[in-house]
Amino acid sequence: MTAPAVELRGVSVHFGRTVALRELDLVVGRGEALALLGPSGSGKSTALKAVAGFVRPHSGRVLLSGVDVTDAPPHRRGLGVVVQNYALFPHMRVADNVAFGLRARRMPRREVEQRVTEVLAMVGMADYRRRYPRELSGGQQQRVAIARALAIRPPVLLLDEPLSALDAALREEMLAELLRLRRELPDTAMVYVTHDQGEALALADRVAVMRDARLVEVGPTAQLYHRPRAEFTASFLGAANLLPVELVAAAPEGSDGSDGTVRADGLATVRLAGAELRAEPTGPLPAGTPVALGVRPHRVEVRADAGLPARLLGVQWRGTGFRLELELDDGSRLRADVSTVDGLPAVGERVGVSIPDGCPLVPAGAGA
């Protein structure tokens, strides 16, 4: 059996008294793209630095292709690293930046030249090889940084928020570029640190959601998006409304949950603001556990006269649609994304809210 490209076993990182990463277990398969997703201070960049060798774990082991590299310095790990601020060497031209890792490996000059030409062409920067980094735009600098990391043909590419310093249009362009590179380099594993769920969803095969130096949840991208097991995942990945609900009956319909547990083998019945809804438990829900319904704003329907009674608190125009702030009669607040507000009453008036069946049901406070 082939060893995974990256494996973290119970890795903790301390900076003085601050715990930056707490017992992280994570596996990245060969050729797999894993996104480490979380807010600032969640430990995702620290995890990446532990893999790169930039920080030394307080405890735990780091393995690359099955080899324990916990005590190995960065220059013996053979990884490609791309960071947020590009970190191009300002005193070197583009070609010298890209050739840096190859020369460090004492590759023959002709091969260095060939490889530099090849990777610069791959990222569309072949015409800029004589320029200094200061003569390039942010997007161009990031392309060069990616070329420099890819030039050494690393088995693993580590990307630490590579797009966050770019403006929105460039970010889109570079995201497409990274997707193209993913297709061209199917054997290169990628660990992608981001706080942007859009980037994680677009690029990753799997997502690891982190918070407060801990791993909250890891799983295939679609599964985490549609069936999050933790409340935090539901809110961070897809910005779901988390509505506290009362669990009425287990699934499938007709089972009474008399064994004291609610089985996760179908839809459960929950009560929200006096109305009963059908929801999908994403994991075992022991009886008596407080639960929350994860409802994404675009799945909420708002009408003038039908559905759960609510009050319209505010309307924001967002170009492609409107975001509505609503309050149900039980005091729960939620957001709804709608394409039009035609036919809706004014702010402060009563409206009706519809929530579709099948929204994920998670233990309240899980991952919080």
Partner: protein
């Protein structure tokens, strides 16, 4: 521009002119005039001559000038190397160690140079470190006096440097030595050059410690100027000072040009 009105700008320029004229230009002009003065009984010299300048670049005066240049170059080079080494080492040391290194290396600035000279005399007048009476004790004194400036300038530059560059270089497979030589030091070149300039200027003008320590075969130009003044040879002392200024200026301009080229990249 913080000052918008023409009148305010003129007033500021005037204040600057007066300050610059009194503090810097007037003393230098006096030295320059005295260096070429034949006789000087009024406001300006009555006669002019190049004889003092000729004397200042020949014989003992020339030997002193060459000693000063060698001392300045060796001390500034040593200050830059040791200062950069200490600054780089302190950067990777634990915070308490770094604070101690910072304090110890800045201490000589607060000590009068005469005290530095006296301390070295006491420390190096007995075996096994018998340097008294040799040129080495002068070089050590100059290094002690200029090292804090070399360390301080490089240390300040390291504070502004992006540590990620070294990390990324290492991740690309570069050994620590390669990272130092190809990434960290080239990026520090402007600071290294500035530190060398400062150290050179300080060393060229140093007299307090040197006058206590110099052996007969290693007399620096400021010591000679002091002796000439003491003997009443004021015009020769001025000419020697002009030579000292000229040599220092050439050194500073050369280092400045190197700094400019490094900063452009």
């Amino acid at each position: 521009m913080l000052v918008w009105t023409r009148r305010s700008r003129l007033l500021l320029w005037l204040a600057f002119g007066v300050l610059f004229g009194v503090v810097i230009a007037a003393p230098l002009a006096m030295v320059g005039l005295a260096a070429v003065a034949g006789t000087w009984n009024g406001v300006l010299p009555a006669e002019y001559t190049t004889g003092h300048l000729a004397d200042a670049v020949s014989g003992d005066a020339l030997a002193s000038a060459l000693v000063s240049v060698q001392t300045g170059l060796i001390a500034s080079l040593a200050a830059v190397v040791c200062g950069a080494w200490a600054a780089l080492a302190a950067r990777s040391a634990p915070a308490p160690v770094r604070r101690v290194v910072d304090t110890v290396l800045h201490l000589p600035v607060a000590v009068p140079s005469v005290v530095v000279g006296l301390s070295l005399l006491v420390a190096f007048s007995q075996p096994p470190f018998l340097l008294n009476g040799t040129r080495w004790i002068v070089l050590v004194a100059h290094l002690v006096i200029v090292l804090p400036f070399g360390y301080g300038v490089v240390s300040a530059a390291l504070d502004r440097a992006d540590p990620v560059l070294a990390d990324v270089a290492a991740s690309l497979g570069a050994s620590p030595a390669r990272v130092l030589l190809r990434v960290r030091l080239p990026l520090l070149l402007p600071a290294l050059s500035a530190a060398a300039s400062l150290a050179l200027a300080l060393s060229m003008g140093e007299v307090g410690a040197t006058i206590m320590l110099y052996p007969p075969d290693w007399r620096t130009l400021p010591v000679s100027v002091f002796a000439q003044t003491d003997r009443g040879e004021v015009f020769l002392a001025s000419a020697s000072t002009a030579v000292l200024l000229g040599l220092t200026l050439v050194g500073l301009l050369t280092l400045g040009a190197a700094r400019g080229r490094a900063a452009e990249r």
